[in-house]
Subunit: 149 residues, 2 copies
Amino acid sequence: MIGNKENAPAAEIGGLHGVVGFHIRLAHGAVYRHFSETFVGLELTQKQVSVLWLVGDHPGISQIEVGSRLAMDRATTMTIVNRLQDRAFLRRERSMRDGRMQALFLTDAGKAALAKAKTCIESHEAWLKSRFTAAEVEKLVEMLSRIHD
Amino acid sequence: MIGNKENAPAAEIGGLHGVVGFHIRLAHGAVYRHFSETFVGLELTQKQVSVLWLVGDHPGISQIEVGSRLAMDRATTMTIVNRLQDRAFLRRERSMRDGRMQALFLTDAGKAALAKAKTCIESHEAWLKSRFTAAEVEKLVEMLSRIHD
DNA sequence: TATTGTTATACTCTATAACTATA
DNA sequence: TATAGTTATAGAGTATAACAATA
């Protein structure tokens, strides 16, 4: 969960250098570590923030929908929602429209946590974007979207 | 380890769309899942292949060096090397130059596994690169490197 | 003292499988 | 039958802490 102090991946990786997936993984790792450092004290992971954010934007959203938008398995979604519920950041409510669904809502504590998280995200994103021009950021996001869409 | 069948992350993610780190994580997840599908039967993870590849390129490399180049903790490197050693894909040898170090070497089975893995990587990379021009691939790798270097 | 490896431990993410309830 | 949620289980990656051996 906590950052790796010896974080430079070093130069010579030989044949691996030509592998795009390898660079995605390294970049993801670097972002993950910086995120963890930023969120020390707030005790929230990337996934937890994403779920909080999504529920905040869409009160009453179902678990399956959260999973779908975040590319997560139903079971994976469960564990994350469970943890958030245990900490009283969100609550489940049986949907009246469809009895199979759980409608998710942020609690007041959850709203407060999300607000704090968004501030942290801001500085984390500033760190990430600092190495790019605005046009490059746009291009990067667009290219990454081509991968995950 | 195995692929997520409902893999489309869906469109409307609201405010999260503007978060670069979010797109990196989604893209990483998509690549991870496709990788897993490609490597079913070979039973190797991204990290394991990276270590095999690195040791193949640099026979006698130390664990700490592998960890450094792959941006991994010492303990994390241990668990991966252990698994590879348990499957007899590589072996440890006390370094004669520095008694603290373990020199890593591929076994014949390890070399065979790496050769197969490289073939799989090829098709996996083809899938990944198919959505980009050569110039875009280059730009993407360059931008990702700016993040992880 | 610093570095490398090791062991123990813990947490998160990820997924499969089987089951329940509802549609 | 299909979908949403749930529970149990498992493997992989990540890291901290404490310790041993070597430099």
